[in-house]
């Protein structure tokens, strides 16, 4: 069973402390949600897990299946099966989705071009995306919603076992939100990965039903609970929790 453990993580950027003694364990088959006010370090956490060199790790450890991945470059972390769907997927001029995925997958032993194309087309359809998008430059001129769907498309193709989705719901209209939610859940039913969703809104959690909800405040988790915590936040906001702290 795959597992990702984050232990006492302290992270700085430009001398400013962002994450403070952050702890979290994600196990296969579990769905976690992190909520928290703007600027509390949610995206920072997701990028640090992937090994973004912009951030300075002061202390702590990140373990994948009980082994530290701190010294591994980003691509090796990804190849272990950790996937990050980004809050703001970047535009890559001249690199098509097909190029990206072929390059990412062609080293796998069982890579076959025909089945790759077939699979890609199926997921494009499932996500109600335009077929043309496969041959367009990654995210270039894509709408906010299209970019998020594209992240899910890549998730499907790469078949990760630890999935982090950073505000995958932002920019989605109601129909797209349902499609994305359902697709993530279908993947979950198929492969039972560990999922960590970062979101501001309960509405995503109606589709991707979390076993655990954590509140990140000022760089650390101040409260954890079950799905009802999400509803509570929607009702009352973060203020009551700050007082508890």
């Amino acid at each position: 069973m795959h597992k990702l453990e984050i232990k006492d993580l302290c992270v700085d950027i430009d001398e400013k402390q962002i994450l403070k003694n952050f702890n979290l364990t994600l196990k296969e088959g579990e769905i976690h949600a992190i909520m928290g006010p703007n600027g509390t370090g949610k995206s920072t956490l997701s990028k640090v897990i992937m090994g973004d060199s912009e951030y300075t790790i002061k202390s702590g450890d990140i373990l994948y299946d009980d082994e530290s991945i701190m010294s591994l470059p980003t691509d090796e972390r990804a190849r272990k099966g950790i996937f990050l769907g980004m809050q703001m997927p970047i535009e890559l001029e001249g690199v098509t989705n097909a190029d990206l995925l072929k390059t990412a997958l062609h080293d796998k032993d069982d890579f076959k071009l025909m089945s790759f194309i077939k699979e890609l087309n199926k997921h494009v359809e499932d996500l109600s995306m335009d077929k043309e998008m496969i041959h367009r430059s990654v995210n270039l001129g894509f709408s906010g919603g299209e970019r998020k769907k594209n992240e899910i498309l890549q998730m499907y193709m790469l078949k990760p076992n630890i999935i982090i989705l950073d505000e995958i719901d932002s920019g989605l209209d109601v129909d797209s939100l349902r499609i994305v939610g359902e697709n993530v859940m279908n993947y979950y039913k198929e492969r039972k990965p560990a999922i960590l969703v970062i979101t501001h809104y309960q509405r995503l959690l109606n589709y991707i039903k979390p076993d655990f909800v954590h509140i990140l405040y000022d760089g650390s988790i101040i409260k954890s609970g079950d799905a009802s915590l999400g509803l509570e936040i929607e009702e009352n906001g973060y203020d009551p929790l700050k007082e508890v702290e």
Partner: protein, 264 residues
Amino acid sequence: MNTIIIEDDFIKNCSCQKNIEINETLKNELFSVNTIEIHFKENGKLCIKGNQKETKLKIIYSVDPNVKAEIIDMRKLSGVKIAEEYHLKEKSELHIIKFYEGFDLKKQDTIYMEEKGAKIFYVLKSLASGKQRYNTMIYHRNIDTSCEIYHHGVSREKGCISFDVTNIIEKGMKNTYVEQQNRIITSNMKLCKINPNLIVDEQDVIANHSAHLGDVDNNELFYLMTRGINKEDARNLLIRGFLLDKIKEEDISEIKDFISFDWR
């Protein structure tokens, strides 16, 4: 397709229909270099393939009024000096893609937008392993002319590239359009240089330019690496995207056949 094959400083092979006239003047007492004249008399597309070493050459292009000319010019170069002149007549259009690969090169291009309504779309891609200097001057000598010009370079290991690009719009040359873009991808900024110029002596013009010099973008690299692509492949993907940007699908396969790069 109409094709010219250039070897060093002469035409080795030429197969062109009569819409394009080709003349070759070998060096003599008056001219110190061989000169090739390429004259578009009617619409048409020309492919130039060159393999040039330790040599000098001059090429003069001209496009007749109302003619649409298209050129794809691919060359492997080393120790070469080339001067090129372009003469665009009334309402002529020239679409030119240049893809150069190799070592030392000095290139001087002079583009004359001679008559009104002349239009050029010029894309240079350079894969440099040596010292390459490109000096490009564009003279807008009539009204309603338009010039979209892109210089894109990638410096390999010891490669150094410099782009000097100057658009000159004289007084009275109303309704001139210029889009000038210069970009170099390099891991050694000190070896490369971009010097963009717009000399404009007329109000009624639209002139834009942008320049970028630097390595591939770290955020772009990070994104690709989060998809499990190693740094080298990610870099290669981004450079390939950069090299094929602004090039039409139909020309891409020609380029991939001729230019040695890890295209995948």
